[in-house]
Symmetry: C2
Subunit: 483 residues, 2 copies
């Protein structure tokens, strides 16, 4: 690396700005340049739905560090509205274009971090470009939707996609007073989650007045009868027409890898950029971090693509440190995620049936229900937990929960147990806190671990001394009444 | 063991009833007898303060399983208002007295479980027996205080003792509309907790209108000027007079070990009954469980006395299984506890400075503060965390937290890490859930682990590549601003 090395970072949101800050800390004399296509850097994208719900707040509240402050306070050369066009790892040159002026130039680097993120999947849908149709990914998307809500005062909305972004958006639009229909292609909302958890979410959506339609194939978006008689737009589906003044498409994201692919950088089986534990790509001195990259998955034992803000921040730090000539490794992920939908907390960690089947693991599932609070303490409610454990070893493989409170941080207990490689009897022996406002004597985590142990015993054909009735239901899960 | 073995259990609250139920499950043909001095069995004692706060609820709501149901549904021979007088382990006879009739008899047993619990410490205080002075341990104590509140309509109360029972009681009495003064002998409330955590509790008490007086030695309880002019009683202290219509003494508990001691059963250094991992005492076929017994402490590596409802339930199960001829071991404790005081959640796990100093461990303390929610998400507030890590190994030794929400289950993350024997860099690498309503991108647990790592580095004299200012304060703790 030269006397004053240049670290170029492509992308200025979570991973990119974390990389830039860490590169600066690691090598205070480095020339740290961030190339960002959009106008904003370093914003809390996950906060957009919640921000959307509150007309009094500006979307810019979500900006953690603006470009100006990044320049002056951290000495990071942030260049917004600049697009990265092509990367030549052999010559160590990044070709960029200033979107305001159209001027293109070649930016030499000593090391480079790809933090290009992910982009919403745009289904090949007739009418998707009509006014009133939005995605919710970049801060500018959120700003556009929020302006539309203020200016056009839509009365009804359709959200296409029942993943967590779709759910959070549905909640935000309900909070703004709109009638909301949620359309999901798969037979249940939250595809990839366990059915017992998804069913609770479905019920909560309906309780909150969202029209939920599952197994729906969207065909086109066409103009509607204008208000006040009708809605501006109509979503045509195989299950009928859904009128909407505004439509949000939230059918998932995919990694932005065109720059990497064009440079001949290896992608993983997931389609995201392959990286090692130091966030190195297949190209020398090119690192990748965040939603564009895979990450080592500690439960699977190989890389996986789980685009999440926490991972982006942590990988960004590692990539930035290493790009600046330091030494850092990423501890890997176990796939922990949480969200809120109306009065329900939902979270998951580790593997679900999708990953278990994909990797051919031999596992049992145990479904349990336990109160979020102590005996006779008012408030709270039931937490539904699904745990997966490996047959034979008894190793915890993953868990999912839904309940009115205390779910996200309980999932973190399971995430910690996963990271430690605990088996379910070790989880059952955990000394977890008990106080009536926060937990029953036997916390839902302990009850779930006990259920998983019994499911393992039943699957092994063993008869326990203290037999408990285990009802196998059609999906070969194990559910039981809890004492 | 004979054809129809008799398992006798002394004490019918948490540990005792758990032991009885498990003995019954383990050996369905056993004669399972529970001897209980009081009128109630199997109640959620920890729920008493919360119940006290609500005049509409009966204390009996806290009964999980009454004696009648235990007899009929579980086949447990529950004998209330019967006192155990003496135990002869050589002859395997328990001498008991029926408190209603005064009749004494000898009860032979094949195995016996001591689940005699703990009793409130009664300070040698003149006037402690006056009407209007209460403790809060057994359900009958709660009932008596609740009746007094309803009948006598006291306007002001003094709580003697600033441990968590005292704090919960102060909150309950405030909820009932009383003016409350809390008197603590030590220089700060929550002796044994770290000062940064205790200071937040102190501030919260004052915010809620509780008069807090620390470093106060109580001398006597004397009659006051009767209402309406004055209060019924006056607490005389070295810091002045505190008038009170009602007084609750909550200066801690000690294990009920007179029966064990009389039988020559070994006590541990704590004064509670010494047990092994199977809950065996030094006497053959005599087991002990719950607040009267020690428990294996996984962080200390030896037994400790930490009387808590969760441990009582779990040890009770183990003792009951083994007493009935089954096989079970107790996984041990790490010392996890949580409570609520007004708008503050407080929790701890593992070792604090008291235990660290007592065992002569070499540790650093790191104090950190991080928000309970994500960037710009409304609500929540700062969580103060103190972590202890072992110098050299970096092993996590313990943690304490106080904050407006999400504390109890975050402590459980640390409890899980303790149980796994993680060092603080492993804790820092945990993949914890992030969603703005529940956590910032870097959860308070991760921030605390990073602070502990830096404190270890500073203590080792190492200079980190990414240096962060660490201010040592008088107690040689490490505190830092968080980015």
């Amino acid at each position: 690396m030269t006397a004053r090395p240049r670290v170029v970072i492509v992308g200025g949101v979570a991973a990119g700005m974390a990389a830039a800050s860490q590169a600066r800390r690691t090598r205070p004399d480095a020339d740290v340049v961030v190339i960002e296509r959009g106008t904003h850097v370093s914003y809390a994208a996950c906060g957009m739905p919640y921000n959307l719900a509150d007309p009094a707040r500006s979307m810019e509240d979500l900006v953690v560090l603006d470009a100006e402050r990044a320049r002056h306070e951290r000495g990071i050369d942030v260049r917004t509205r600049v697009e990265a066009l092509a990367l030549d790892p052999a010559r160590k040159i990044l070709k960029v274009r200033d979107l305001a002026t159209g001027i293109e130039r070649a930016l030499p680097y000593d090391s480079l971090v790809l933090a290009t993120g992910a982009a919403p999947v745009r289904p090949p849908l007739r009418g998707i470009d009509r006014a009133g149709v939005f995605a919710l990914r970049e801060l500018s998307d959120g700003e556009a939707l929020k302006r539309w809500l203020a200016a056009e005062k839509p009365r009804c909305a359709v959200v296409v996609g029942g993943g967590y972004v779709g759910l959070e958006t549905a909640e935000a639009l309900r909070a703004r007073g709109l009638a909301v229909a949620l359309l999901e292609k798969f037979p249940e909302v939250l595809p990839g989650f366990e059915p017992e958890v998804a069913a609770r979410v479905h019920a909560e959506l309906e309780r909150a007045g969202v029209t939920v339609a599952t197994g729906v194939e969207v065909a086109a978006i066409v103009p509607g009868d204008e208000p006040p008689a009708g809605a501006r737009l109509v979503v045509q589906t195989d299950r009928g027409l859904f009128p909407a003044d505004t439509i949000v498409i939230a059918v998932g994201v995919r990694p932005n890898v065109s720059l990497a692919r064009g440079a001949g950088i290896a992608l993983g089986p997931s389609g995201a950029i392959a990286v090692d534990g130091a966030c190195r790509t297949s190209a020398p001195d090119v690192f990748a971090a965040g939603d564009c990259a895979e990450a080592p998955h500690r439960v699977l034992g190989h890389n996986a693509w789980v685009p999440l803000g926490t991972t982006a921040n942590k990988q960004g730090r590692v990539a930035g440190a290493n790009a600046a000539g330091g030494y850092a490794t990423f501890g890997g992920i176990v796939g922990t995620a949480a969200f809120k939908v109306f009065g329900l907390e939902v979270a998951r960690t580790g593997l679900g049936h999708v990953e278990i089947e994909r990797d051919g693991l031999d596992a049992v599932a145990a479904v349990s229900t336990q109160s979020s609070r102590g005996h006779a303490y008012p408030g709270g409610g039931p937490i539904t937990t699904v745990l997966f454990a490996e047959r034979g070893s008894g190793r915890l493989l993953g868990g999912q929960m839904a309940g009115p409170e205390g779910v996200a941080k309980r999932i973190d207990v399971l995430a910690t147990a996963l990271q430690a490689g605990m088996d379910v009897t070790e989880v059952e022996a955990l000394d977890l806190s008990y106080a009536p406002p926060f937990a029953p004597v036997y916390d839902p985590v302990l009850i779930a671990a006990a259920a998983a142990r019994r499911a393992l015993a039943a699957a092994a054909g063993a008869r326990e001394t203290h037999a408990t009735t285990i009802k196998a239901h059609p999906r070969a899960r194990h559910e039981e009444a809890l004492g």
